[in-house]
């Protein structure tokens, strides 16, 4: 691991300690965020999965009945019947903030031209099967929109979770150990300096004592000589 290069000073150590505390707080918050994101994500995905199974089954039914309808009615007639619809499906999009992720919410609005029946073709040239199969399709529509909404949310949340997880890991495994390591290095350096200082002081004291002793002894010798 690349080590942080730092000046071994008390001030630097203080600064690093504050940064480490901040990193630890951030790490905890991000971890909580990740957990909550995950919980919501799994809820969404579970609902999405159930809905997709339902929609796919309904669509399979619809395709089957539509196949029969077009067999009875004939492709040419089918197309003329369907090509200009009376209805227009539109979506109102509201953005929601889900754990700081912007997700869309779709509201389906079907505009009709005001006439009572919703079929855009006369009854004379098409078979009853077509009516039935289109009615079936109409009921799936709302589920399809809801499914689109859920799937989009799942995608966006998945991205956010991935990003958050990466941040958590970076803090946990790189940044925080780096700070700790740097703090430890500084502490060791400071202690070492302290010890050096003490030894030096002891040595100096020793030398001074010896000098005093020597001085005393010389004085005594001088006194002896004069006597």
């Amino acid at each position: 691991m690349a080590q942080l290069r730092v000046n071994p000073t008390r001030m630097e150590m203080k600064r690093l300690q504050t940064r480490y505390q901040t990193a630890r707080k951030g790490h905890k918050l991000l971890k909580d965020k990740r957990d909550e994101l995950m919980r919501q994500f799994l809820d969404i995905v579970r609902e999405d999965k159930a809905l997709r199974i339902k929609v796919e089954a309904s669509l399979a039914d619809y395709y089957a009945s539509f196949g029969i309808a077009s067999a009875v009615t004939g492709p040419q007639m089918m197309e003329t019947a369907l090509i200009c619809p009376k209805k227009e499906g539109e979506l109102d999009v509201v953005y929601k903030n889900l754990m700081s992720v912007t997700v869309p919410e779709f509201r389906l609005q079907v505009r009709t031209d005001g006439s009572r029946d919703s079929y855009n073709y006369g009854m004379a040239f098409t078979s009853g099967e077509l009516d039935l199969s289109l009615a079936a399709l109409g009921t799936v529509m709302e589920d399809m929109i809801r499914m689109a909404e859920l799937e989009k949310r799942a995608q966006l949340l998945a991205e956010e979770i991935e990003r958050t997880r990466r941040r958590v890991n970076a803090l946990e495994h790189i940044l925080m150990p780096q700070y700790l390591e740097a703090i430890k290095t500084i502490k060791m350096k400071l202690d070492e300096n302290e010890r050096g200082n003490i030894t030096r002081l002891m040595k100096v004291k020793d030398m001074m004592l010896q000098a005093q002793l020597r001085g005393k002894r010389e004085d005594e010798e001088e006194e002896d000589l004069t006597e």
Binding site: M38, F41, E56, E79, L82, G89, E90, V103, L134
Partner: protein, 106 residues
């Protein structure tokens, strides 16, 4: 107000016209891909459905728009029936988020 788009082969998408979807026919994957890019560029569509037969062959084009809030590009089974591509998308989203497939283990 946004439109609901639909891209797919003729026989699969015909019925959706009657629902008021903005239906775009595509005869091959190339055409479908170009259509998709065009529809996204107009920014008029909130949801674009693509039939699985095409969607599974143009994954790259679709994943380009994955991280945008709009449009939601969703694959649905075409008239040949489901090939499980849509389900696979859910699974890959789970794998991306969780790191492992926790939903389809069974």
């Amino acid at each position: 107000m946004y439109k609901i788009g639909m891209i797919g082969e003729r026989d699969s998408v015909l019925g959706f016209m009657a629902l008021g979807f903005a239906v775009h026919e595509a005869n091959d994957v190339e055409a479908a891909q170009q259509l998709l890019h065009r529809l996204v560029r107009t920014e008029e569509y909130a949801v674009i459905f693509i039939t699985e037969q095409y969607a599974m062959q143009m994954e790259d084009a679709i994943s380009q728009y994955k991280d945008r809030p709009l449009p939601a590009i969703v694959s649905i089974p075409g008239k040949e029936g489901s090939v499980g591509f849509g389900m696979n998308n859910i699974r890959s989203a789970v794998e991306r988020a969780v790191g492992a497939d926790v939903l389809f283990r069974d």
